[in-house]
């Protein structure tokens, strides 16, 4: 049951082979059984879920249901949920109950999806291992000694372990694609402006984008139909016609031109990952795609630029957590300064503090030009590289992450080494492009992910290419033992 595709679940529900309440209960039972070990949820909402499932069953019985009505899902705990705690993985929001829904949550509710709970994440989505969460690390179902990736590590682990069929994630520098890669999932980071950011707690506003995570390209295409769309509450939301992301899934990809950036395929690339990708390339060649070597000359600078821009925006975005209107406040502040400094010091974890300090530094008088402004200029060059490449190719293929899942605690003592996990993903965010990660093999029983990057708003093409690949391979159908 828990490994079925969304299409199968949907047809079972519509055919009344199973009710939404039964399906929801099934997943709730699995969460109960496995999540003590995995820690993939911060909050589980059984009552809310069962009540929604009951409503979904009514709609289904009246044949008044949408394609995803009654299907369980999980929300990353970065999306605000009305009357249900939203922590963003932080102590500073441990007591925060939003009086509003994020647009993404609203859309999921309207589609009849059943929210099982809120998934664990790196604090304020800052991390690549899910170890910065105030609620403790999440374990990778493929190897309980390893991280699931981050920051959407809870969502990834929950899907991989069959605790939910799909979940939302957010991706600022790779936070959907990298955990998808480490947990053998398919995850899409949509074009910036495609999915509303309203009610999605901000980390770095010009980079953050919500998106779908699931087992297959088809699942996330169906999910994307719910998540995407213009929202007047988000000034950066792009007004365009509603798209059916499943429409082009089976389009032939003969003559599709795929670029291989020479900067990604260097001797630094892990051999097993390289091999897995070479095999994937062969499959695409069999499907008729053509490969061209391209260059993204500024891509080595993506990490420096990203780790300037993202902390800068974060330092400002996180100023609102001041202990005045909501969230954690220190005991007995002796004056206003003490209230601010102690509430924030107690509420934020070390990684968030590091980023706030970095961001404050790169924006401060005397350093702005050398760091922030310089980074925004190179960001332009990084984007131009992609635009230039897309004149020659339809999409770009490369690794998602430089390694497979690494052992828990192995990188926490050296934060900067952790930052390199975003080496292939962050440029995509800087340029606002869509990117998808899909399973292409294993190294020592740990999943390997491959990334496809497309021009702005070409999600359909990426999903199409990923789907055809998954028709030819069964990597994405593999599940970890013991779940």
């Amino acid at each position: 049951m828990h490994t079925k595709s969304l299409r199968e679940l949907s047809s079972d529900l519509h055919a009344k082979k199973i009710s939404s309440v039964e399906l929801t209960q099934h997943f709730l039972n699995r969460i109960e059984k496995f999540d003590k070990e995995l820690n993939s949820f911060i909050t589980v909402t059984p009552e809310h879920a069962l009540a929604s499932a009951k409503k979904a069953d009514e709609l289904l019985s009246k044949n008044n249901a949408g394609p995803l009505t009654g299907i369980p899902m999980a929300q990353k705990d970065i999306f605000c949920t009305l009357n249900i705690k939203t922590t963003c993985g932080s102590k500073i929001l441990d007591n925060f109950i939003a009086p509003y829904n994020a647009t993404v949550v609203e859309k999921c509710n309207q589609a009849g999806l059943i929210m099982l709970g809120k998934t664990n994440m790196d604090e304020f989505a800052m991390g690549a291992s899910n170890e910065s969460s105030y609620y403790g690390p999440v374990k990778n179902p493929w190897n309980l000694n390893c991280v699931p990736g981050g920051s959407s590590g809870g969502s990834a682990a929950a899907i991989a372990a069959g605790l939910t069929p799909i979940a939302t994630g957010t991706d600022t520098g790779g936070s959907i694609r990298q955990p998808a890669s480490m947990c053998n999932l398919t995850g899409l980071k949509p074009t910036y402006g495609c999915v509303s950011r309203f009610g999605m707690i901000a980390f770095a506003s010009s980079l953050d984008q919500g998106g779908p995570m699931g087992r297959s390209a088809e699942d996330i295409a169906l999910f994307m139909n719910v998540l995407a769309g213009f929202d007047e509450k988000d000034s950066t939301s792009v007004q365009r016609e509603k798209e059916d992301y499943t429409k082009n899934l089976n389009n032939p990809i003969q003559k599709l031109k795929i670029g291989l950036p020479k900067e990604y395929f260097t001797q630094d690339l892990n051999t097993d990952i390289h091999k897995a990708i070479q095999e994937a390339i062969k499959i695409y060649q069999k499907l008729g795609a053509e490969f061209v070597e391209i260059s993204l000359p500024h891509s080595p600078l993506a990490i420096p630029v990203y780790y300037t821009v993202a902390p800068a925006e974060c330092s400002s975005n996180l100023s609102r957590y001041d202990g005045v209107r909501f969230g954690h406040r220190c005991e007995n502040p002796k004056d206003l300064m003490d209230l601010y400094k102690r509430s924030r010091a107690e509420g934020f974890g070390p990684e968030v503090k590091r980023r706030i300090l970095t961001g404050t530094y790169v924006l401060s008088a005397g350093y702005y030009d050398a760091y922030y402004l310089k980074a925004q200029k190179i960001r332009h060059l990084i984007r131009d590289d992609f635009m230039e490449a897309f004149k020659k190719v339809d999409m770009i293929l490369g690794p998602t992450a430089p390694t497979t899942a690494f052992p828990l605690g192995s990188k926490t003592s050296d934060p900067v080494s952790m930052y390199l996990a975003d080496i292939y993903t962050s440029a995509v965010n800087l340029a606002g492009l869509p990117g998808i990660s899909l399973p292409v093999g294993f190294q020592h029983n740990l999943p390997i992910g491959m990334q496809l990057i497309g021009p702005h708003f070409k999600e359909s093409l990426l999903l199409n290419a990923a789907h055809l690949f998954q028709q030819e391979t069964n990597w994405h159908t593999k599940t970890p033992e013991g779940f």
């Binding site: 009086p99 309203f198 707690i201 901000a202 000034s235 925006e313 400002s316 996180l318 404050t360 922030y372």
Partner: protein, 476 residues
């Protein structure tokens, strides 16, 4: 040594929109605390700003009325600092790309000369909330109703050379924003707030002195006082060999002094950067032209029209067009009454009552309709201009109409020649020596006879008629 004062003004104009700059919450004044602060105004997690179109329209209106460049591309930036009345920990403002730049405003100096004051820029920004200190000892209570209210900050060049010039500039700008209907101009409620950058330098010096920024001065009178007292303070420091410190100072109107606001000095590093939640604001040339073509009549246009249409002097027209309310009052009055007489009464008698009572024309005790009634009675000869002064005083005090006052006090002008002749004959009879002197050529005495008759008639004789009759009777 002689010193020259240099003043630049920053005026925060609260725009008369219905909703806030970035949210759909109401901006109306005086609501219960925090009942008009929505999730966006409170800086709740995940919420996002969406820009109010009307604020852009209003800023454009100001821009085209001060001959400024309205920038077709402007950018909102974040100004980062912590303060309890600033919910997000940053204020959304415009920094290096404001919506309006390089304009000017002409002001009229006391000697009637016109001076051009440069306006560097005008930018849109959101207002902060308010900290109230009465709630409990050692605490402050934060009301965020005002947070997010649209402000247009209008920054002048350091072109003013005296407190009086500063006030003239402020009054001109105040009148303009009210004319444009982009601000209610209420200084008490903080809809029109002024910060003054004040410095002094030796006369003839090229370099500006170190300036102090005087914060939030809430009346025109206090602006003048605050600047003067600050100038005195700075001169005193410089003359005793000290140096002026660049700082923010608060004017205390009770003590008539300025004092340093050290709390605001801490960490003046605002870390401005473009707000990633908002995109560049792009407006078309057509948008600007349409606004330009649909502007209401502005003070100087009104002034010219008054001169032509009502044959007023430049002086009269300038005063009557100086505020929208004054101009409206005048035009209401002249609908049914003589323009020249109306202008005289408004600028003369009425203005002096308003000044005495510290009132604005909009709260005049005599309505334009009633004033028009009075003017009519002068024009139709019922009363003289002289008597009118008495009538207007009574109208002001009692709220009665001109006719009621004239009736109840029997002030109606006497135009019955029989009655006037009777009095003239009486006066001639009682002053034989003066009559003789007059008749022997001492013309100056004519005024004496006019006075005597008027006195006897309680001032009610029709002056023209009296002159004519008196000449005739004295001659015979």
């Amino acid at each position: 040594m002689t010193w020259e004062t240099v003043i630049g003004l920053e005026v925060h104009v609260q725009l008369l929109t219905k909703s806030k700059l970035f949210s759909g919450a109401s901006i109306s004044y005086g609501a219960e605390p925090n009942t008009q602060a929505c999730a966006i105004d409170l800086g709740m997690p995940g919420v996002l700003p969406v820009l109010n179109k009307e604020a852009i329209t209003m800023a454009t209106k100001l821009g085209v009325s001060i001959n400024a460049t309205v920038n077709t591309r402007s950018v909102f930036a974040r100004k980062n600092y912590f303060y309890p009345d600033l919910p997000k920990g940053y204020q959304i403002s415009q920094y290096d790309l404001p919506i309006v730049s390089n304009g000017h405003l002409n002001i009229i100096l006391e000697n009637g000369e016109i001076k051009k004051i440069g306006i560097t820029r005008a930018h849109l920004e959101e207002d902060a909330g308010k900290s109230l200190h009465e709630a409990m000892p050692n605490t402050s209570g934060i009301d965020l109703n005002r947070a997010g209210t649209p402000l247009l900050e209008i920054v002048s060049e350091p072109d003013m050379r005296s407190a009086k010039e500063a006030v003239a500039y402020l009054k001109t700008l105040h009148s303009l924003v009210k004319y444009l209907d982009i601000c209610d101009g209420n200084l008490q409620e903080g809809s029109f707030r002024c910060d003054a950058n004040v410095s002094v330098r030796k006369k003839g010096a090229e370099k500006f002195g170190t300036r102090a920024e005087l914060k939030n001065i809430n009346s025109f009178k206090f602006v003048e006082k605050a600047i003067n007292i600050e100038v005195e303070r700075q001169i005193e420091i410089l003359e005793s060999g000290g140096t002026v410190v660049q700082e923010t100072r608060l004017y205390d109107s009770d003590k008539n002094e300025t004092r340093s606001m050290r709390s605001k000095e801490d960490a003046h590093d605002y870390r401005y950067f473009p707000d990633p939640d908002l995109l560049p604001v792009v407006i078309s040339d057509k948008f600007i032209t349409d606004i330009k073509n649909n502007l209401p009549e502005l003070p100087n246009q009104k002034q010219e029209r008054f001169i032509k249409q009502y044959s007023l002097s430049e002086y009269e027209a300038t005063i009557l067009a100086s505020s929208k309310e004054m101009a409206n009052y005048f035009e209401e009055t002249v609908k049914n009454a003589d323009a020249k007489l109306s202008a005289n009464l408004i600028i003369g008698e009425l203005a002096s009552y308003l000044n005495k009572n510290n009132l604005d024309i909009s709260s005049s005790a005599i309505s334009s309709t009633k004033l028009s009634g009075l003017v009519t009675r002068i024009s139709d000869g019922t009363i003289s201009k002289n008597i009118a002064k008495k009538v207007i005083e009574e109208m002001w005090n009692t709220g009665k109409s001109a006719d009621e006052v004239i009736e109840s006090q029997g002030l109606k002008q006497v135009s019955d020649s029989g009655e006037i002749i009777k009095v003239i004959e009486e006066i001639i009879k009682n002053n034989p020596s003066q009559v003789a002197e007059y008749r022997s050529g001492k013309d100056k005495l004519f005024g004496f006879f006019v006075g005597q008759v008027m006195k006897a008639m309680g001032g009610k004789a029709n002056p023209a008629q009296l002159n004519e009759l008196l000449k005739k009777y004295l001659a015979s």
